[in-house]
Amino acid sequence: MASTDVARQPDNGVRPLSLAGHVGFDSLPDQLVNKSTYQGFCFNILCIGETGIGKSTLMDTLFNTNFENFESSHFEPQVKLRAQTYDLQESNVRLRLTVVNTVGFGDQMNKQESYQPVVDYIDRQFESYLQEELKIKRSLHNYHDSRVHACLYFISPSGHSLKSLDLVTMKKLDSKVNIIPVIAKADTISKSELHKFKIKIMSELVSNGVQIYQFPLDDETVAKVNTTMNGHLPFAVVGSTEEVSVGNKMVKARQYPWGVVQVENENHCDFIKLREMLICVNMEDLREQTHTRHYELYRRCKLEEMGFKDTDPECKPVSLQQTYEAKRQEFLVELQKREDEMRQMFVQRVKEKEAELKEAERELQSRFEQLKRLHADEKAALEEKKRLLDDDQSSFGKRRAAAQLLQAQSLTANGKKDKDRKNSGFM
């Protein structure tokens, strides 16, 4: 639970008092730590860097485990983020570590929107914490905190300066997350080049107004080491999970034909410094900065965006009723306007359709008339023809009848003649 900063000067009647004996509340920090140990800790690291720059290897080396990452292709159409959560334990401390890697960062032809998925991811985590915090029935102490505590930005070891993609991305992220820039694959740069490179990078960051994470200097126990380390930023790191035998020990190293780069040798690279700063000295501070600075900023912006204020323009406390009523009115007016618009549009459309249909009907009607006329004409013609045919037929019939009659007459005349001949024959 939050404890306040104890006032150093007496205020509101808080006076310092000396104790006459041993009371026993000096065990309070231990009680607090015991409870936290029981609950376990959460830590979330975001690694941003181009494909193949060594993000996964560095994570493996940092935490001495194999996180089972597979190589990504260079042909991703968009930048994506891949988050994996692991439960680690060392001595009696349980850590829930989430490692988020960018996939396809820097691979696209057009990198203008490359930073957006990262910003969206970070905002999503803040959003879900905010949701939980604003719930009525909430359980914050059980909540798995997924907000990004540290962002390791991997800089390509070109030896010259930062890329514009780097600057743009870091500028977008510096108010949302603690950025710790690291120079990846530092075994490709020589010592003198590295020194110049670091100075160049830091001056570019400063001149572009990028706020990277500064190791805190307010606690005397660690102020000294933190100040030194602040001067070594960005850390030039080399990652490796392979072991090579050097002398009589097996150490994590990269073996080249010309020599062996030892990861944990401070003369070879800054890996030890990174591990010290990130994990051993400042992990708690990273978490705290995320919660009290970055998250609060997000929360404030989000709530203000939604229209909540603590005081109205005249700096008087605004009553909730007023804000709510005002918003409600606004909304109803807007709704009404939209409804009217819609109604108008609807009427319009109906009219149009009606006209269309009428037109079609007219057309149909005229065609029908036309066809009817055609039909009548044809019918008349046909009737005419039929009449002619009938006439022909009847005249033909008459002629045939006449012909037949004639034939029949002639036959009977012939028959009579024959008969007469026969009859005459006998005579």
Partner: protein, 359 residues
């Protein structure tokens, strides 16, 4: 009389030992990452921030509340009420007086606030005497809630919530009085109550045990859950420890800020004609157990229960109220909408208001 060894209620792992262990075993170990260094980081942060503790003492006048506070913290954290003149002797109402002190021990700084309630149980008609106290406790929750829902809120919200309320039961030896039952019944729902038998040097050991047993039964019969509450035990180990404590409450205490020489040692005690009662001797009274519970082992737990259970209960109740009059505009409507239905969905509350507010 031989000194009985105090029962170790809970073993708090001393962090310094842990640190030494780490260096010894991991000095040359290259597979060591350093995750457990976070414990040390947390400790440093806690030491830097300091702690806060708000204790309320409730009981009739003359039961030794102020003396007990002074004995607990070995300094004058509570001013004993001076004898008022006859006109003012019976306060008309219960006052709530809160005094804060900065104390420090071995680098650990703490802002201790003792909230006194003079006048409690002193009137002739004591009905509703818990009301001002209940109101005070709820007011502290309210202040905290207001600050928490601010848009621009402080880095550390000042915590004035009452972490623990010590209730003083007079050592009658019989049973709880209706006033005690009524008060504890109502207040145990909003704050951690630790009942103690005050001025226990008037009871013999048998009377004390009988009294305690009666009290425990009466608490159980009335459904009063005092600290440590059974339902908030975290795990089996916790339950074992807390069961032991629950068998011992209420602690029979004696307070004193006078030092006497006993067997060549200077100890706090009360000197009478028939002997000297040593306050920190567990054969004499149970002050040491109370001190260990409150300060040395369960202080953080008391604060946690206040923060994550009592405060959350208050918050839920408050946000569900339809006549919520928050002086600063905030998210009340969101909660009103949310409480009407969509509360369980992940994006429920915020979504709802976004829909209302964004054209």
């Amino acid at each position: 009389s031989e000194q009985k060894k105090p029962i170790i209620i809970k073993k708090i792992l001393k962090l310094n030992d842990a640190l030494v262990m780490r260096e010894k075993s991991h000095g040359n170990d290259f597979s060591y990452v350093g995750i457990d260094a976070i414990l040390e980081q947390m400790r440093r942060k806690a030491m830097k921030q300091g702690f806060e503790l708000n204790i309320m003492v409730v009981g009739q006048s003359g039961l030794g509340k102020s003396t007990l506070m002074n004995t607990l913290f070995k300094s004058k954290v509570s001013r004993k009420s001076a004898q008022p003149n006859p006109e003012e002797r019976i306060p008309k109402t219960i006052e709530i007086k809160s005094i804060s002190h900065d104390i420090e021990e071995k680098g650990v700084r703490m802002k201790l606030t003792v909230i006194d309630t003079p006048g409690f149980g002193d009137q002739i008609n004591n009905e509703n005497c818990w009301q001002p106290i209940m109101k005070f406790i709820n007011d502290q929750y309210e202040t905290y809630l207001q600050e928490e829902i601010n848009i621009n809120r402080k880095k550390r919200i000042p915590d004035s919530r009452v972490h623990c309320c010590i209730y003083f039961i007079p050592a009658t030896g019989h049973c709880l009085r209706p006033l005690d039952v009524e008060f504890m019944r109502r207040l145990s729902k909003v704050v951690n109550i630790v009942p103690v038998i005050a001025k226990a040097d008037t009871l013999t050991l048998e009377e004390r045990d009988f009294f305690k047993q009666t009290i425990r039964e009466e608490l159980r019969a009335n459904g009063i859950d005092v600290y440590p509450q059974k339902e908030f035990d975290e795990d089996a180990e916790d339950r074992i420890i807390n069961d032991k404590i629950r068998e011992m409450i209420p602690f029979a205490v004696v307070g004193s800020d006078q030092e006497y020489q006993v067997n060549g040692k200077k100890i706090l005690g009360r000197k009478t004609k028939w002997g000297t009662i040593e306050v920190e001797n567990i054969a004499h009274c149970e002050f040491a157990y109370l001190r260990d519970l409150l300060i040395r082992t369960h202080m953080q737990n008391i604060k946690d229960i206040t923060g994550s259970i009592h405060y959350e209960t208050y918050r839920v109740r408050r946000l569900n109220e339809s006549n919520l009059h928050l002086s600063k505009p905030s998210l009340k409507n969101m909660w009103t909408e949310a409480s009407r239905g969509e509360e369980t969905s992940p994006r429920g509350a915020l979504n709802m208001f976004c829909r209302i507010c964004q054209p």
